[in-house]
Symmetry: C2
Subunit: 255 residues, 2 copies
């Protein structure tokens, strides 16, 4: 799938030039952060009182090939509030969910505060969440989520899991029904009026302060007996830090 269909839900209404339905772009945003914000409409507590607010939970995610259609992607979720969600996702039709992931790439400082902005990448996914019940799919999802946190971590930790670990785990599979991305990248843009004002230009610094998620040196736990941080972790930290910094810095100027 090269693009997701434009639906009533995903159609951009402002800054349409920043919107995209490109599947590889949307997937790259999901891959850039292990966290997503999962929103859903909670069930009514009584027929006379429909829900007013969505419920929202931050959860850990992984993007993986769909078990039923491997050329498509699904999103697996594993989080801290599964018990309530698990029930809601256990019906045959599943639970409609909206996922939102955003990365901040820079502070964009123009002459007027009203022309300030941020560089960012944001993906919103509309889908349906189902509780995963197959042993095989739970294992595949947990491997994907673990290796999404740290590449190669699954095979470098204590596997295979025990039966009780598998039974105690709640994994949700989100089938993607629609998705869109919004991206702002580039330098600060000021109004012509301000650019003509030499007094303002001589006084107000304009440009971009790049920002990225930096990882530090691994801090060993009290129980650790392995000694130094292993190469697969150290290489990942160094490589990611370099790529993330380059992405933010290169995005700070117009192409």
């Amino acid at each position: 799938m090269a693009t997701y269909p434009v639906t009533e839900q995903t159609k951009a209404n402002r800054y349409a030039e920043r919107a995209s339905y490109d599947a590889p772009l949307i997937h790259s945003i999901l891959l850039a952060s292990p966290l997503t914000h999962v929103s859903f409409i909670p069930p009514s507590t009584s027929p006379d009182s429909p829900p007013t607010h969505p419920s929202t939970l931050p959860m850990l995610t992984a993007l993986a090939p769909s078990p039923s259609s491997p050329s498509e992607k699904v999103i697996y979720l594993h989080g801290s509030s599964l018990s309530r969600l698990t029930k809601l996702c256990s019906t045959p039709s599943g639970l409609p969910v909206t996922l939102s992931t955003t990365l901040l790439d820079g502070y964009v400082l123009a002459l007027s505060p009203f022309s300030h902005s941020v560089n960012y990448r944001s993906a919103v996914i509309f889908g349906r969440a189902h509780l995963v019940t197959s042993r095989e799919e739970i294992l595949a999802a947990m491997e994907a989520i673990t290796n999404r946190l740290v590449p190669s971590r699954w095979e470098n930790s204590r596997v295979p899991p025990t039966e009780s670990e598998i039974k105690a785990t709640g994994v949700l599979r989100v089938e993607i029904e629609g998705a869109s991305a919004k991206v702002r990248r580039g330098g600060a843009h000021s109004e012509r009026r301000d650019l003509k004002d030499e007094g303002v230009r001589g006084r107000v610094w304009t440009g971009v302060v790049p920002v990225w998620e930096e990882m530090g040196q691994g801090v060993e736990g009290g129980d650790n007996e392995v000694g130094d941080v292993p190469g697969y972790i150290e290489g990942w930290v160094r490589g990611e830090n370099g790529r993330r910094r380059a992405w933010a810095e290169e995005g700070a100027v117009d192409e």
Copy 2:
């Protein structure tokens, strides 16, 4: 206000020991990120088809004293999709919204993949969003949002705003009805079973990889005539980078 009331919406159902209703903690999470995810239940397109999915938008925020009750806080929003939201927030009762802000502080690597976790700070706010119509409040909100992006930026950019800037701006004020935070901080914790297994302990590194939002050196725009990055920006970048790194690193071990 020292704590927010525990409501049906904010009551923790899993990992209750990580949940908090402490107002200063919740405010500190909102202050730590300029972005929040705003979710709301969209209006029905027809009486027979109730909405299925929440709508979610990433938006820029600022926490500020409430104009009607200065000892309370409100949240101002200014984002990229205001035109649709603006209409929905223009009614006297406003629009119910759920805000979610999460900061990732570390990757927590235990012996078993099922004991892996992340260190994080997350706040979920249930509130009502109103379109701000008073000129004075729009100005105060835009000043708060601008200085939330970069401290002292408002007075160091081209102010006062023009009448057309004020008229074209959509600012929403969210009155907080309920709020909760979830926080995980500390080292990796493994199951007793795994800790007794010397083969596993001799092979699997355990600990925390700290992570924080790092800011780079300001990249000047093509229109910039001020030269070097001014001290109020450079000092902010340096100070924040140090504080954020220290927060993530100190959180990587048990207290």
